[in-house]
């Protein structure tokens, strides 16, 4: 049976906890690079946060960037940032804050060079205080959200899981912010929304995984080590995690594609790009970061240390992936962590003989 077939049946036995050092190093490196970039390069904040004016118009004449720039120089706007949006069928101009007259002149100029009427030109002027308020309200929402979720997970599961989920969340947020910083995407209210969504996804994903771990603890407690139980749970939900990421990325990808090829959907595109990164990081962290972290942490608990000693006394070295011993479950062999820490998949599963189907007729 191939790895994929076993994954389909949830019969893999990857040792996620055993290989944790490798995953933690990857996570640490990603977080470090993100933080460095945030410190050095910073974020490119959009007009909504720093104030300024954005003008958007359809590019009916199919002008090139240089042509637009040349025309803008004529009205004293050489410092403006000019972009073509979509596949070149939209013009986007960003400037500092303008006075009423300056703005009117700019709108008229843009309408004239683009060959459209002034009512087809969209504009957005933002004072400097608006962004501060948006950022402040988002930050406040974030903090309260985190507190509520921590309490919720503590009640529904336990506090260790709550803090592990929180750590995974910060991990995802840092990496997403880092990608923004590294690639120089502009941070807009849409990106703030995207980041809040990632927050939701990341928690959602972690909660589903923890739900599984909790369920297995109920069943396998006393007979297995926590590491084994976490590994077993991870293998069982692996397919779900991969599938969920895929089905989440499909609509986001469709958003990304449509946003890139249709005029005016720049907001959608920015949104989709951030989500793409965030969902990826969220899936990674719930499998490779949150769960191993939880296992290591819980392994310290006296209860679980006793369980480990008991298991080792009874069966020698504890297995890496717990093997539930009730029911006619196809038994996957224990996958010991290799010296080099590589992911090893062993299969001792003996496929059940096909059942005879009795036909009624």
């Amino acid at each position: 049976m191939s790895v994929f077939q076993r994954m389909y049946r949830g019969e893999t036995s990857f040792d996620f906890v055993g290989n944790r050092r490798r995953y933690f190093v990857i996570s640490a490196a990603a977080v470090l690079i993100s933080l460095l970039s945030l410190a050095v390069r910073g974020l490119d904040l959009g007009v909504d946060f720093v104030g300024g004016t954005v003008i958007e118009a359809p590019n009916a004449q199919e002008l090139s960037l240089d042509e637009v720039r040349a025309d803008l120089r004529g009205v004293g706007q050489e410092a403006a940032r000019v972009q073509l949006t979509g596949t070149g069928d939209g013009i986007r101009i960003q400037t500092v804050e303008l006075t009423e007259e300056q703005l009117q002149r700019l709108v008229d100029t843009v309408a004239e060079i683009a060959g459209v009427s002034a009512s087809e030109v969209s504009s957005q002027e933002v004072g400097p205080t608006f962004g501060a308020q948006v950022a402040e309200s988002a930050a406040r929402a974030l903090v309260i959200f985190l507190i509520v979720v921590t309490i919720f997970i503590s009640i529904r599961f336990e506090w260790r899981m709550a803090f592990t989920a929180l750590a995974a969340l910060l991990h995802d947020l840092t990496i997403t912010a880092g990608v923004y910083s590294l690639t120089g995407f502009e941070v807009t209210p849409a990106s703030v929304i995207a980041i809040l969504t990632i927050l939701g996804y990341s928690l959602y994903d972690t909660v589903v995984v923890f739900d599984k771990i909790e369920e297995q603890i109920e069943v396998l407690h006393d007979k297995h080590t926590i590491t084994g139980i976490v590994n077993l749970s991870m293998n069982q939900v692996l397919m779900r995690s991969i599938n969920t990421s895929l089905t989440s990325l499909l609509p986001v990808g469709s958003l990304l594609f449509v946003g890139s090829y249709l005029l005016g959907a720049t907001t959608l595109r920015e949104f989709a790009l951030a989500l793409f990164v965030g969902i990826g990081a969220g899936t990674y962290s719930s499998i490779f970061f949150a769960s191993p972290l939880l296992a290591v942490w819980k392994e310290q608990e006296e209860d679980w240390q006793r369980a480990r000693r008991r298991v080792e006394r009874r069966r020698g070295p504890a297995e890496a992936v717990a093997v539930p011993d009730q029911g006619p479950v196809p038994v996957a062999a224990v996958a010991p962590a290799d010296d080099d820490g590589a992911m090893t998949v062993l299969s001792g599963a003996t496929p059940r003989p096909p059942k005879r189907r009795r036909r009624k007729r």
Binding site: Q124, V134, F152, A190, S254, L255, V258, T267, L268, P354
Partner: protein
């Protein structure tokens, strides 16, 4: 669960969802589109820090009245946002200068001499002045006094109708006055005008402005003990003037004081944005030398709530229209084309995303994927219905951020199917029959779905309560979608799966649920045997 019961339950949910959508669409209700999806004009105005929330509410009220007087704005949205800001959204408005002037400026205030006052509320004195019969006057009487004009005669009913008077205004009718209402259409303070006092319904004929808002520096509402003519005392308003304004006021009141106390011409009307706010009389005993601007008080008549009346008048005098000076913080105008494009992009992305997810689930979970596809259609129908319904009744708008939220929620709802289907596979691995697995997997999977959805819902509610602007629209969409996800799982997915597993698609070939769980199917055995 019997096959029949499962089928009926699943069908009921399906019919309810599609039926609700069909009824809403048949009634012509569609989701109310936000400004960024249909084009329009949005302004965010900020009041100075520490502005009282009552003052903001008052400002919102005044702005709404002004926007409505602009005409041609469908469903303006004006609301207090945050601690000291007001957000104004005007869908479909493209004339930014006019819109900005209507909401941003503090309004045009003038003091004008009254010439005549209409005898009845709602009837302009202009008809009497020009000696013409008001149009529709007779018709109004007809409507108002239906009983009087309809006499029941034996065997039938006859209605007496009065012939309408000569249609159309006379030659000397002023251009700027509406023939039907007898009111000035656009008030110019430099000209005479026929203006309504909204509180009483009376129409005043007023002269050109004697003073304007620029002549007034402030006003205070105070309680004055008796003394004014030995009265019991009451609420008064003390206006204060600039030096030049004071002179103008003294001169104007002197002029007015030459008229008899009962003459309307002894009154001056305080006019704001083309409406009479109040029309005090110059007190008895004031001579042609006029009133001293430093000692003037406006006494409030015997209203029920003198205090609020005095405070309102003081506010009007102090600020013109708006009770605070607002600064424009953010102005956004979206062209209709851009709005259309965004809407189309959102729709294409949403529908495309749904189809892609449907195919992925069908490919991976085979027969179970069919349930997911039907479930996604129920999800979509419910969501569209809710947005149409809430848009119509609660004024909930669907914004671009909301569309993004919906596209994201497709991922969340498809996860619910995946959790359930993976659970079924697992139960089968634990040795249950396919049928038992489908039934047993649901309660456990539903618990997971509930927990995960609860986290999403927390997020949505908190975002809605705490965030501003676009984020709110996103929160609404996400919250609604999460609730619908739970509903679909509880009332559709469970029954549809219970039904399907009891058909040929449950335990048939490779495409069946049995095939999807990875169990060997009949065709495998046949191949192995061949």
């Amino acid at each position: 669960m019997s096959r029949r019961r499962a089928l009926v339950a699943a069908l009921i949910t399906l019919i309810v969802a599609w039926g609700a959508l069909a009824v809403t669409l048949a009634l012509g209700a569609t989701p109310r589109l936000g400004l960024d999806l249909q084009g329009g004009f949005a302004v965010r105005l900020v009041a100075p820090d520490g502005t009282d929330s009552e003052v903001l509410d008052k400002a919102v009220e005044i702005m709404r009245r002004r926007i409505e007087s602009l005409g041609g704005v469908q469903e303006p949205e004006i609301a207090v946002a945050g601690d000291n800001a007001v957000e104004v959204q005007l869908p479909g408005v493209t004339d930014r200068d006019r819109a900005l002037a209507a909401i941003g400026s503090t309004g045009e205030l003038s003091f004008r001499q009254v010439a005549t006052i209409g005898q009845l509320p709602g009837v302009s004195p202009i008809y009497a002045e020009l000696g013409v019969e008001p149009p529709g006057f007779a018709a109004d009487l007809n409507q108002a006094g239906d009983d009087a004009t309809t006499t029941t005669v034996e065997g039938g009913e006859t209605t007496t109708t009065t012939e309408p008077p000569a249609a159309g205004p006379p030659d000397n009718w002023p251009d700027n006055v509406d023939w039907d209402t007898g009111l000035t259409i656009v008030d110019d303070p430099a000209q005479e005008a026929w203006l309504l006092e909204p509180d009483s319904g009376l129409v005043y004929h007023v002269g050109p402005a004697l003073l304007t808002g620029a002549d007034i520096t402030g006003a205070d509402a105070q309680f004055a003990g008796g003394g004014h003519g030995g009265g019991v005392g009451g609420w008064v308003v003390d206006p204060s003037f600039t030096g030049e304004g004071g002179d103008k006021f003294r001169e104007a009141t002197g002029q007015l004081a030459t008229f008899n106390i009962a003459d309307p011409r002894r009154r001056f009307a305080i006019v704001l944005d083309g409406a009479v706010v109040s029309a005090p009389v110059v007190a008895e005993g004031v001579g042609p030398e006029g009133l001293s601007p430093s000692a003037v008080t406006i006494t409030i008549g015997g209203g029920d709530d003198q205090q609020s009346e005095a405070e309102d008048l003081a506010t009007v005098l102090r600020y013109g229209a708006l009770p605070a000076t607002f600064e424009t913080d953010r102005v956004e105008s979206v062209s209709a084309t851009l709005g259309d494009d965004s809407l189309n992009a959102g729709l294409v992305a949403g529908i495309g995303g749904l189809i892609l997810v449907g195919f992925a689930l069908l490919f991976y979970y085979r027969a179970l994927g069919l349930i997911a596809i039907a479930g996604l259609s129920v999800f979509g129908a419910f969501l569209l219905f809710l947005f149409s319904f809430l848009g119509e009744t609660q004024g909930v708008t669907l914004t671009l951020a909301g569309v993004a939220g919906i596209v994201v929620s497709i991922g969340i709802t498809s996860d619910s199917y995946i959790v359930y289907f993976e659970r079924i596979k697992e139960e089968v691995r634990h040795g249950r029959s396919v049928r038992a697995a489908v039934d047993n997997a649901f309660p456990r999977a539903f618990r997971t779905i509930l927990t995960a959805d609860a986290v999403s819902l927390f997020g949505a509610v908190l975002l809605f309560l705490l965030a501003v602007g676009a984020v709110k629209g996103f929160a609404v969409a996400l919250g609604l979608a999460t609730v619908i996800d739970v509903i679909v799982a509880a009332f559709f997915t469970r029954y549809a799966a219970a039904f399907l597993v009891r058909t040929r698609l449950g335990d048939g070939g490779r495409f069946s649920i049995r095939g999807a769980t990875g169990l060997p199917v009949a065709s495998d055995a046949a191949e192995a045997g061949a």
